[in-house]
């Protein structure tokens, strides 16, 4: 008796009779004898819900969860309104398959269409796909698009792009024989002089991040002006929360915009599933990876939505497809859509302003302790780098005892940045939390 298997002994017998055999074993006679498993699977006896919950609780007690989070570095502790989980828990949404049958999938299809609209609007671009796995794979796929379109095998990427993203980019590129060239830093931002030196008529795409890994707002216009070759694609990794106060990458002439929208509707969940997004200019739409929903009409002329431009995709084009992406992160995209609808114009502007103002307040307070200084003198959004005398690991260990997750130590990824950490402040952090965090930092 298994909870999720309705077949009774009687059902089984009736079915065997119809098939005309005596036992279920006969249905596995086509498996060669020596390949048949002789031992039962060694993974324990079935568990009831009671036992299962106890096991999970036991595991949960081995974690330090719900820490007061001052760490970002690609995973952000923003507040997710209660309505989000309420809606994505509707089984019509979460137990549905990919919307290949539009007549019975208008819910999912319209939600994706709304998502595409919001993401394209927020980034200032022509079109968005239905979603990707995460920001890092979206970046790698963007590089592939640039290489394919320009027929060039070199990507130039700034060192201020999240190291995790650059590692994934390098893996994808290595297997496609695409060279990755890195641009050095200048005071925590993309070094324009080095950019000029490293781009050429061999460059398929230039990739930068703004706000960058250190939280610094890059001058996207200036970088664009220095991409002389008209064929080279300008790829910008951005943050949607920052779009509440910053100019869109589209306005700065980006060809492809990518990022991770985990901040909208997806919790920290130990790093996944997150929500990669990609938006693109009109001329590149047929090169975009992943699914796209378009508006159309049905036979009665009624407005409706449907998966479109599928000729780009793996199930039609097979080895000529633009990408192999199939399942993407639709439910995370739905969560983001609902979250963005709740925020609305005013909400997003306010959240972005709070992140920014609280981050500036935190920095001022930290500097006032006389133990730390700001590492890079440039405008930032919700993250900034501080430098102290002590190793951040030691500081963080002490903070952890108080239930605080301190800044992200940078030395491992950037050996030149000794004793520095990347501090992140979201709208969730209260003045009280910030003040006690600063106080602890000052004592250490």
């Amino acid at each position: 008796m298994f909870r999720y298997i309705p077949a009774t002994e009687e059902d089984r017998k009736e079915m065997l009779d119809v098939i005309g055999i005596n036992s279920v074993d006969e249905l596995f006679d086509d498996i060669p004898k020596n390949l048949k498993q002789s031992q039962p699977l060694n993974i324990g006896a079935p568990m009831s819900e009671i036992e299962l919950k106890k096991r999970i609780e036991e595991l949960g007690n081995k974690n330090l969860s719900n820490l007061i989070c001052f760490r970002g570095a690609g995973a952000y502790d923003h507040y997710i309104p209660a309505a989000v989980d309420h809606l994505i828990s509707r089984s019509e949404f979460y137990t549905a398959y990919t919307p290949y049958q539009p007549e019975i999938s208008q819910g999912t299809l319209q939600c994706i269409f709304e998502y595409q609209t919001m993401i394209a609007d927020l980034t200032g671009m022509f079109a968005s796909n239905a979603s990707m796995y995460d920001g890092a794979t979206a970046a790698a796929e963007a590089a592939m698009v640039a290489a394919t379109v320009t027929k060039r095998q070199e990507i130039v990427v700034s060192k201020s792009v999240n190291p995790e993203t650059r590692k994934v980019l390098k893996t994808y590129c290595k297997f496609r024989d695409i060279k990755v060239v890195e641009i050095e830093l200048d005071e925590g931002a993309t070094c324009i002089k080095d950019l000029k030196d490293k781009i050429s008529d061999k460059t398929a795409g230039v990739m930068v991040q703004s706000p960058n890994f250190f939280g610094i707002i890059e001058d996207l216009d200036e970088i664009r002006e220095n991409i002389i070759d008209k064929k080279t694609k300008y790829i910008v990794y951005t943050d949607l929360v920052a779009m509440g106060i910053l100019k869109t990458p589209g306005e700065s002439g980006a060809d492809i915009v990518i990022g991770d929208a985990q901040s909208f509707g997806t919790g920290l969940t130990y790093g996944g599933p997150y929500l990669g997004f990609m938006t693109i200019t009109k001329e590149l739409i047929r090169k975009m990876p992943g699914r796209i929903v378009g508006e159309s009409v049905d036979q009665d002329g009624k407005r409706c939505y449907v998966l479109t431009l599928q000729a780009r995709e793996q199930h039609i084009r097979r080895y000529k497809a633009t990408s192999n992406i199939c399942s993407n992160h639709a439910l995370n995209a739905l969560a983001a859509t609902i979250h963005m609808s709740l925020l609305g114009r005013v909400g997003l502007e306010k959240v972005a302003e709070q992140c920014y103002k609280k981050a500036n307040y935190t920095l001022r307070k930290i500097v006032e302790t006389d133990r730390y200084k700001l590492k890079f003198n440039r405008p930032f959004f919700r993250e900034f780098v501080i430098e102290g005398e002590e190793s951040p690991e030691i500081i963080n260990e002490k903070l952890l005892k108080d239930g605080i997750l301190g800044g992200y130590p940078l030395e491992k990824e950037y050996p030149e940045l000794k004793n520095t950490s990347l501090v992140c402040i979201t709208e969730k952090r209260s003045k009280l939390e910030i003040d006690s965090f600063v106080e602890r930092m000052g004592e250490i």
């Binding site: 309705p6 969860s65 809606l87 919001m118 100019k247 130990y270 000729a311 992406i325 997003l348």
Partner: protein, 482 residues
């Protein structure tokens, strides 16, 4: 019920907001004090303005336009639309398990790492592989990672010529596209009419340029590859590796293991075999399993257990590198882990047994009314084909099923069967549900002769009729202008 057909942007009204923040509490200095004006936004953010209850009603109404697995039967071949247990959803929201930052120190996430380590061990046991990496985010992402392992293995051996991956013409579309994106060549071979590998054709491609062979077993026709041992020997003798597409794992749990069949590397689809919800198109998860000889090449970080402590090891010089950020689709893995514990070894075996029994039962009853592609014992799915008819096609039959409250089977796949309808009931459907579906299929068969118009004009009682897909591709409207 009155039909609802508005976009969220069409219910937006300036001045509404479904979100509130606490007071700022800190200095409220103007933005342009520190940020140069040329970096600041030049216009209002463009998002709809709706109250919270407005948002709830809008999306609730949209959900009513959707057919989920909890709504009804979903016999989608190759997709394994089995029931998504509710306890898994509760567990996946347990704050102690999920309110964790991915960069928390290892000692503060021992429970999360233990869960992942154990999930990987269970998957290795189920598949007969030596080790499992949980990182890939979806089945096709797993294919990509697995093929990267194959390529890295040959390159490590100095075999730079080995660039050919053989793929049967019955394979999922992701197989050839994954081969292409890792910089290998696709050699597509014709299958036998029964969907088996044609050994003679295979032999033609066994040479020193062979990197590997990708196989789905049971095949997309639902048939177990009877020559698998021979194929394995041939591929390995030629210096190639064998890749297992795990989309059809639900047919063989506890019965046979890819690792024992000679496969070197594979991917799992947790959103198929291990009951995690499809979410309207993801997130899924596509962990990969592999034999020891490929372990050095697996993506970083590797979760290791030492003296009862778990850690993330990045120090792996031969690794292909990172294939995604962080460690895997943790929330999905957690649900699959809960499912594996719930079912236990005996439950997983019963699941596979029942899935196969259900499929064979449906085939036995339906083959009297529709031609079957391969008339022999199937595994978890089987294929019906288009009955001869002057007008009506598989697509029409699929659309007619919508009228009776079913999600249609997978259609026109695999490509080698003309007008295929691929039916996979899974183990979680009752005999009554299957019987009702069978009766409906029999009725449609009758309609084809007696009232073809009903089938040709279907669907008639869904919210919308058939969609003009050509218009969507011609007049590209992929965002709403407002």
């Amino acid at each position: 019920m009155k039909e609802y057909n508005k976009l969220i942007f069409e219910i937006s009204k300036k001045g509404r907001c479904g979100y509130a923040l606490p007071e700022l509490e800190v200095d409220n200095s103007p933005l342009d004090l520190i940020i140069p004006k040329n970096l600041l936004k030049t216009r209002d953010v463009k998002l709809p303005e709706v109250s919270e209850n407005g948002v709830i009603r809008h999306y609730t109404r949209l959900s009513n336009k959707n057919f989920g697995l909890d709504t009804g039967f979903y016999p989608l071949g190759s997709c394994t639309m089995k029931y998504n247990p509710k306890i898994n959803e509760v567990i996946a929201r347990n704050p102690k398990m999920v309110n964790l930052h991915p960069y928390q120190p290892e000692e503060s996430v021992q429970g999360a790492l233990e869960m992942m380590h154990e999930a990987a061990e269970h998957l290795a046991e189920i598949s007969g592989m030596d080790q499992v990496s949980l990182q890939p985010a979806a089945g096709s992402h797993g294919e990509m990672a697995g093929l990267m392992l194959i390529k890295a293995y040959h390159e490590k051996n100095g075999d730079f010529k080995r660039k050919n991956i053989i793929v049967p013409d019955s394979a999922h579309g992701t197989n050839p596209s994954s081969v292409q994106i890792v910089g290998l060549n696709v050699i597509e071979i014709k299958s036998t009419p029964e969907g088996d590998v044609d050994i003679e054709v295979l032999k033609e491609h066994l040479n020193d340029e062979l990197a590997g062979f990708m196989l789905t077993n049971p095949s997309t026709l639902g048939i177990f590859e009877k020559n698998i041992e021979k194929i394995s020997t041939l591929i390995h003798e030629a210096g190639g590796l064998l890749y297992y597409d795990g989309a059809n794992m639900n047919a063989i749990m506890g019965k046979a293991r890819p690792g024992d069949m000679g496969f070197d590397v594979m991917h799992f689809n947790l959103h198929k075999t291990f009951s995690t919800p499809h979410g309207g198109g993801g997130p899924g998860a596509g962990p990969i399993g592999f034999k020891s000889k490929l372990a050095d090449f697996q993506p970083v970080p590797v979760i290791e257990k030492m003296n009862n402590k778990y850690r993330l090891n990045y120090d792996r010089p031969d690794s292909i590198g990172k294939v995604r950020s962080f460690y895997g689709n943790y929330g999905v893995i957690l649900r699959a882990y809960a499912y594996i514990l719930t079912m236990g070894g005996s439950g997983l075996e019963t699941a596979s047994e029942t899935a196969v029994l259900n499929a064979n039962y449906m085939m036995a009853r339906l083959k009297e009314h529709y031609p079957v592609a391969v008339d022999k014992v199937c595994k978890h799915e089987f294929i019906l084909t288009e009955p001869a008819h002057e007008k009506i096609t598989t697509l029409d039959i699929a659309k007619r099923l919508l009228d009776f409250g079913y999600h249609p089977p997978t259609i026109y796949f695999p490509l080698i069967i003309k007008g295929a309808m691929m039916i996979e009931p899974t183990e979680t459907e009752s005999k009554e549900t299957m019987d009702e579906f069978i009766e409906t299929m029999i009725n449609i068969r009758k309609e084809m002769e007696e009232n073809p118009e009903a089938v040709l004009s279907a669907p008639g009682n869904t919210l919308i009729k058939r969609v003009d897909e050509g218009k969507a591709a011609r007049d590209i409207v992929v965002t709403h202008s407002w």
